[in-house]
Amino acid sequence: MFRHMEREAVKLKIRSDYSEYTGPRYCIQGASSGEEFYHTLLNASFVEAYQKGQHLIVDLDDTAGYLSSFLDEAFGNLIFDFSVEIVKPRLKIISIQEPDWETMIFNEVYSDWEKRRLNNVTPKKTADHPEWFKLIDNQLISKIWI
């Protein structure tokens, strides 16, 4: 895993840090899923940026494309665990090749998953995951939540 540190941001490039060929929504459905990406990389990277008071920049370009469900599950879980209020000012998306993904994440995923968070509709987990972080009352707590 290569997370490139710069002065004001933690950078995550999906092609080089995760996979060129991303998969479906859930771990049970196929390799390199959105669920897996969230638990192996996105959650920890966001926490690192949050603790350092930096942005997390996620670069979606140069892969073989995405299923919208991969992005929905990965970034949706981030909203569920940290809230739109915390994620929105700290997360930047680079998607020059398919700019509509950025729009979809910011417009649809954010609002859908914030509603889920407020209604406590827990995300489905289809594999065992090690402890991951959630922000509860402004405190980062790590455990196996589901």
């Binding site: 929504r25 469900s69 090749q97």
Partner: protein
């Protein structure tokens, strides 16, 4: 007494000669400049229209595989990525070149989200091919129709459009 312009040309003849000269100048101007611009604009329009047709053919072939359940799940996202870039570039150039308002990418994105977000594709992701359930197909038919309408409208708009560069050069 007739006004003498040249020693041997009367005013009426001078007007006739001037009329001929103006007619020739206008004819040359039309022939050289207007026709050249028209031909150039027409060629550019033909290019955009043929690219539109190419996208339509490519799209129809792809969706035929989706409808019949022959499409490979692993190839769907790359196809959508390539098509997204193609349509985005096409529309960007078209907007710069002509006063048109293409809506293909909007419909294309709806199709992309519907298929790549479907439970059917995700659940059959490891399979050699996947098939959509009837409710998803029904939604796809509707957006596919809207996409085709957007493409057809665009051809009409291109044909009616004036060239941006010629307008801004005036």
């Amino acid at each position: 007494m007739d006004l003498i312009i040249f020693p041997c040309i009367q005013l009426s003849n001078a007007i006739a000669i001037l009329d001929i000269i103006i007619t020739i100048v206008i004819a040359v101007w039309i022939g050289i400049f207007i026709q050249r611009n028209f031909t150039t604009v027409r060629a550019v329009k033909e290019y955009f229209i043929s690219e539109n047709q190419e996208i339509r053919n490519n799209y129809n072939n792809f969706l035929e595989g989706i409808y019949t359940g022959d499409a490979k799940p692993s190839e769907v996202q790359e196809w959508f990525k390539i098509m997204t870039m193609r349509i985005d570039i096409y529309e960007d150039f078209l907007k710069k070149e002509f006063h048109v308002h293409p809506k293909m990418s909007k419909q294309h994105n709806k199709i992309k989200y519907l298929i790549t977000g479907s439970d059917e594709l995700n659940e059959q992701y490891r399979s050699e091919s996947f098939s959509l359930l009837t409710p998803t197909k029904t939604d796809l038919h509707k957006i596919h129709r809207d996409f085709t309408i957007a493409q057809t409208r665009l051809v009409v708009e291109i044909n009616k459009a004036k060239n941006n560069k010629r307008k801004s050069a005036k």
